[in-house]
Amino acid sequence: MTPGSLSGQSSRPALRGWLRSPLANQIKAPLVCIGLTLLLWQLLVQFNSAGFPGPVAVIRQTWDPYIINPFFDDGGTSKGLGLQLLISLQRVAVGYSLAAIVGIGAGLAIGLNRFLRRGFDPLIQVLRTVPPLAWLPISLLLFQQADSAAIFVIFITAIWPIIINTAVGINEIPQDYNNVARVLRLSKRNYLIDILMPATAPYVFTGLRIAIGLAWLAIVAAEMLKADGGIGFFIWDAYNAGGDTSTSQIILAIVVIGLVGLALDRLVGAVGTLVAKGGRS
């Protein structure tokens, strides 16, 4: 990666030293590749007369107020990106929590009971493939209200991987641990606390992690169709406004959505590692 590293004494040893540090090693490659992508984008835009903004234009056009002031509130639906995000995150929090509670509960029931497992498996396999937006009309019919409908879509999208992974986790408890429990004649309660929960935790968190991604996916889509606030609404609103800077706003929102999605995924992953410490080594 660094040509000329064998040339001995360097004119700028400090920079060279830093380039070889572990941190630099990690960010070097992404930095270069993302930079090249942005450059390519900027170059391509030069040949486009339709007015699609390049990265520089995006930043310039959204700098004020969207980037420097994410929490402005002009009343109505005109709010900063941060506030829009909070609205979305709030919906996700409610829907996802419900999905986690119901999903783990259902997963436990299905994992522990052969009859339920066999009975519900086909249903789960079918429903889990339904795209989030397909639920929206039903959801609106049921709840008559955009906010609850969006929450329901998140719930129904996020619950399947949680159920499936919890059930699989219970199924996959090593026979050895179950044998230990049988030999020691552990009570139901102790079995749950000492063996079932710790052994299933890694699977449950895998499910939760997949679910948070799906939930974030669903919220943006749901808000774009029917909502009066939230990051999805922001994109759709900007598109409908059709102003000079709309495209830039949309692009900025996309970047923000991506970053938040990544953060959510990492957050759940980190919690999972923390809770399931020890895990199945």
Partner: protein, 687 residues
């Protein structure tokens, strides 16, 4: 005898296969373990050792039979039978203390919290892990994990400790230390332990007894080795013990024999498949498979012992769909054996010693691997002494010895076959009576039909033969019954079914159908209400002839004269008569080597499991509709009061009077292709 601590009673465990059928992992396991005993299970992988351990733990249930611990049946797992699992099975999310606490806190609920905590501490001290109390298993080495597992198991003071290859994954040094620790702990705590292992040295160091399992499927106990070293044991002292290397080579020998047997079975299976496919294409083979039935040529010598054959033919018990039987009669055993070797007949009813003689090649010809799937008859022999000698005061073994002492010539005794079952029994009886059969007796092989004439002409002094021949001689006032086989070995195997192993592998259905028919016929022969019909049947010319009818029917009278009361009728069915019992074969082996005809084979288990096929016997019994009674692993009681333990044949040989112990050496049995002759031999008409 006091009741054992743990009793495994005829346990069979089979698993249903997903594609139908079932896999029998363990068959007829019979084992008693005393309190405080350390028992190891060894065998090749797939021999059901771990299955047996799971049954003992209660994690798995036997299909038939049961396991009793202190008189109570084991039906589910429990903390009184603690298991040390193969891969430790520590909970990775719990520290060492928590892992041990899981056992202590859940099991010892009667103790106070402080007592339990103390118990956890002492358990950790016991295995030297106090420093690691708060570490997670992932932070421990393999040896430490295993110590935690042992500490967890011992912390609740189980009455039975079950160890599944506990040291398999450890390096040699750690293993040695842990073995020593385990030994001390077990001895201090007086724990009864059962350990699965594949390490012969480990088994020898730790165990009081080593149970060697045969290959699966249908794994059985092949041999039980008692380890005599005194406790406390130390590795080096044990290795210097004079018996150590003998025991070690016995165990390794057993494992090697099992491996060879497995290869042999596979090879036979392959050959059988091959011959079946060639038979399909050419339409000719040793036994001709027609569209439905297989023609089986069965050789026999007429006599009472083949009554089941006569019965089966007369009552049409052979299932015509599976089997078309062509019986071939012979006058002497030599000719029958020759026909068998040359493939002129497929199967024969032979003396019980014949399969071993042919397999070991004791008749002078190359080894001919025979098998025997069933015993056709038991008992029915007697020693008939010329009447003048008997009237001169010879009435039993002791008087015969005294009589022989005052005479220069040896006693001349006719036997139907050299090295036959009758000769073995006779020699055993003679030696037991203080008569050296080598010096004082001359054995004359003679066709059974010619024996009475030879006695009359004073060419022989006595003969040993079937009860019917003896009865005739007694009836005609030529002889007296000096001894019957009841005074030697009551219930000994007399005639067995014998065929080449390759033929058995190639025609399994026909062989089983034949056995099943003979078994059903044997049941009728044992039925006293059928006696009259049986006499009539046997009086026909192809069996014993009309002359026999009188002699036979007189024997069934309430009080026969002339010592005939000592004769016991053959039995064909009762008391598990059909069983093909390797323990009996082992006795025959000891006798063959006792008289110097062969060295005692160090690979006896291999030879015996090759020849004796209780598995086929059981399948045939099922086919015949009889309950397959399992074979108890008990010593055989002979009439001289000496018990024969199949696990200690050399000790038995040493305890016998007379000759020095024979040399011990391996007698390999090469795979051989069975010679086949398609033209049947010219049948000999019995005289």
């Amino acid at each position: 005898m006091s009741r054992p601590f743990l009793r495994v009673d005829d346990v069979t465990r089979s698993f249903e296969l997903p594609g139908g059928g079932c896999y029998v992992a363990l068959k007829d396991i019979d084992l008693a373990i005393n309190k405080g005993e350390f028992v190891s299970l060894i065998g090749h992988s797939g021999c059901g050792k771990s299955t047996l351990l799971n049954l003992l733990a209660g994690l798995d249930q036997a299909n038939t039979g049961g396991i009793l611990m202190e008189g109570r049946q084991i039906t589910d797992p429990g903390p009184d039978r603690m298991v040390v699992f193969q891969n430790y099975s520590l909970l990775p999310w719990q520290t060492v203390r928590q892992n041990i606490g899981l056992a202590v806190n859940n099991v010892l609920r009667d103790l106070s919290a402080t007592e339990r905590s103390e118990r956890i501490d002492t358990s950790m001290q016991l295995v030297g892990l106090s420093q690691a109390a708060d570490k997670l298993p992932s932070e421990l080495s393999g040896g430490m994990k295993q110590r935690v597992a042992i500490a967890r198991a011992l912390s609740i003071r189980p009455s039975l400790l079950l160890l599944d290859e506990p040291f398999g994954a450890l390096d040699a040094l750690t293993r040695g230390n842990l073995q020593q620790q385990l030994m001390q702990i077990c001895q201090q705590a007086g724990v009864t332990a059962v350990m699965v292992t594949h390490d012969v040295n480990e088994a020898l160091l730790l165990s009081d007894r080593i149970v060697c399992m045969t290959n699966g499927p249908e794994a059985r106990i092949g041999q039980i080795v008692t380890v005599p070293f005194e406790r406390p044991r130390h590795r080096l002292e044990v290795m210097e013990h004079p018996a150590y290397y003998g025991l070690r080579s016995e165990l390794i020998g057993f494992l090697q024999q099992q491996r060879r047997l497995r290869q042999r079975r596979a090879e036979l299976e392959r050959q059988a498949e091959q011959s079946r496919s060639t038979a399909r294409s050419t339409g000719s083979a040793g036994a001709v498979a027609t569209a439905r039935a297989t023609v089986v040529r069965l050789g026999y010598l007429p006599g009472l012992d083949v009554a089941p054959l006569a019965m089966a033919l007369a009552r049409r018990l052979f299932d015509p769909a599976a089997l078309e039987l062509a019986p071939v009669s012979f006058a002497t055993w030599e000719r029958l054996e020759l026909a068998l070797r040359e493939g002129q007949i497929d199967v024969a009813i032979t003396p019980a010693s014949t399969p071993l003689r042919l397999t070991l090649g004791l008749d002078g010809a190359p080894p001919w691997p025979a098998i025997t799937p069933m015993t056709v008859s038991r008992n029915g022999n007697a020693l008939c002494l010329a009447r003048p000698i008997g009237e001169g005061g010879v009435v039993d073994g002791a008087s015969l010895r005294d009589w022989l002492a005052g005479r220069d010539q040896p006693l001349s005794v006719a036997v139907p076959q050299r090295q036959g079952m009758t000769e073995l029994l006779l020699r055993h009886w003679l030696a037991g009576s203080g008569i050296d059969p080598e010096a004082r007796v001359r054995f004359v092989p003679l066709a059974p039909v010619a024996m009475q004439g030879a006695l009359r002409n004073e060419r022989i002094d006595a003969f040993i033969a079937g009860r019917y021949r003896v009865a005739e001689a007694v009836q005609e006032r030529q002889g007296l019954v000096l001894a019957s086989d009841r005074e030697i070995w009551d219930g000994h195997p007399e005639k067995v079914l014998c065929c080449h192993e390759a033929w058995a592998a190639a025609h399994p259905e026909a062989l089983l159908a034949l056995c099943a028919a003979l078994m059903r016929a044997g049941e009728r022969c044992d039925d006293s209400s059928q006696r009259e019909a049986m006499v009539q049947m046997l009086s026909q010319p192809q069996w014993l002839g009309s002359r026999a009818a009188g002699a036979l029917s007189r024997q069934f009278e309430a009080r026969p004269e002339g010592g005939l009361g000592a004769l016991r009728f053959n039995h064909f069915h009762s008391d598990r008569a059909h069983v093909s019992n390797p323990a009996e074969g082992c006795w025959i082996l000891t006798q063959l080597s006792r008289w110097g005809w062969c060295p005692f084979p160090s690979n006896r288990v291999e030879i015996l499991s090759q020849i004796y096929r209780p598995d086929l016997c059981e399948r045939a019994q099922e086919l015949a509709g009889f309950a397959a009674l399992p074979l108890p692993r008990v010593a055989i009681s002979l009439a001289d009061g000496l018990h024969f333990d199949q696990d200690e044949p050399l000790a038995y040989l040493q305890s016998l009077p007379g000759r020095p112990s024979p040399p011990v050496q391996a007698l390999p049995v090469p795979l051989s292709v069975q010679s086949t002759a398609t033209s049947p031999p010219s049948p000999t008409i019995p005289g």
